[in-house]
Amino acid sequence: MKKWIAYPYVVYMLIFILLPLLLTFFYSFTYQDIDGTTRFTVEHFKVFFTGAGYTNPRIFLNILFRSLRLAFITTVVCLILGYPLAMILSRMKGVAKSNLVLLLIVPMWMNFLIRTYAWMSILSREGILNSFLSRIGLPTVNILYTETAVILGMVYNFIPFMILPIYTILVKMDRSVLEAAADLGANKFITFIKVIFPLSLPGVLSGVTMVFMPSVSTFVIPRLLGGGRVEMIGNLIEQQFLGEYNWNFGSAVSIIMMTFILVFMFVLQKGDDKEQGGAIW
């Protein structure tokens, strides 16, 4: 058994993983001159941050901030809704527990576009939610094609990625530390704040990453549930590549998005290290 049997894959990686990213970088810093030559420029980044040439100078910044804000809200909602479920599941036993965990995963095996699309028939003006509300005498709501619908769609699609890592950590947690906390006089609330939650932080952090990242970059959910009225950075990128054919600007926007995600993960890691008393960065 020699390491060289990995080398075909190393070559594969260089071509299909590294080279594509380098190409994206290359495109983001270049433009095609009228005579067809490729020249270097930082113009695309300048346009993004200053809106040069557009009537609204904040046109792209607004999209960026909306993406970050909606992804942040989605992550917080997923955490608040998902954590208790992870905790309840981790304390169950036997077949009920394994079946409930399984039922958490099953929706992910259904095409996510189909499921997201089904939300449209629930949320629309004459939809199932509204006919239910009017039947019990409540005022109807117009959620579809608003930010609320987009957040709902993102929470729906990404919440398993929050629940599962937290569940995995909680299920492995040594129950004797809870008894120890109780012996030392902590009530349930204090035990949670001081013992359970800190010990579950690695799960929370990976959950937060796994929800935040796809939320920032999604373009399908805002397209379907936002009806094109809630534009996020993924929509902008998709539009630049497949609508405007402006690959240079599209690449620059992708690089900006990647940078924000990297910064977010860096900050998260830093918080994690502090909790554990180490400092890798």
């Binding site: 058994m1 020699k2 390491k3 049997i5 990995a6 080398y7 075909p8 894959y9 190393v10 594969y12 990686m13 260089l14 299909f16 993983i17 594509p20 990213l21 190409l23 994206t24 495109y27 208790p84 479920l85 309840i88 077949v95 394994s98 079946n99 039922l103 958490l104 099953v106 929706p107 992910m108 095996w109 259904m110 095409n111 576009l113 189909i114 499921r115 699309y117 089904a118 939300w119 449209m120 629930i122 939809g127 199932i128 729906y156 796809p214 970059s217 373009f219 399908v220 379907l224 993924g234 990128i237 590549f241 497949l242 690959w247 599209g250 690449s251 992708s254 998005m257 990647m258 993960m265």
Partner: protein, 260 residues
Amino acid sequence: MVRKFLTNTYVFLMYLFLYAPILVLVIFSFNDSRSRTSWEGFTLRWYRELFSNDQIMQSLRYTLIIAILAAMISTIIGTFAAIGIYKMRFLERQLVLNLNYLPVLNPDILTGLSLMLLFIFLNIPLGFITLLLAHITFCIPYVILSVLPKLRQLPANTMEAAMDLGAEPLYAIKKVILPQITPGIVSGSLIAFTLSIDDFVISFFTTGRGVSNLSITIFSMARRGINPTINALSTLLFCSVLILLLLINFQKDKEKERGF
């Protein structure tokens, strides 16, 4: 009592939330109208139409072919790569593993569009081949990540022991190493298959004229209103997956009870 009631209500509501759209799909797959909101009576029409809808059947075929091929190819490449990476020295291994992590950490849209740029740069016409290559590319890292831990669990020097006893390297891998890391390989290929079947974003950027999987077909339908046959198809897929998984799960519980 109150506490238990609240807990149960919360769990019920969470699962209702997760299954609401699936319930809607299943119910409206039997609806005698194209409407997605009002119930017009029971019919099996959409199930009959499903099998004569060429567009949907064709994209189902592409989805399955791509998923099976991508899972098989990425499992083979990934397993060999994992064995090689396992043997590497620290720095080299870190370098390769970090590179391998990129597709896992990168947002889908970035993987998709950068691969699209690559294919156009290399002058490969977008279509079946590029779609397959893209799927293999995002599947391999997951195979490696599920095979490597199994390799680390192997007793040290297993390979050397086999070779001392006269086994050729390839024979030792086949007869000694592979059987022991099989669980990792199986779960890796399952992850690859699942990811490939459900992928939309990467496929969207890397496929070309005439080649579309289910996700792409559904996405392009969404603008004009989705054909209810899609509901019928999803209902069938959902039921088969659910029954299969529940059977496996009950089987496992039985085995546990018998003390396996």
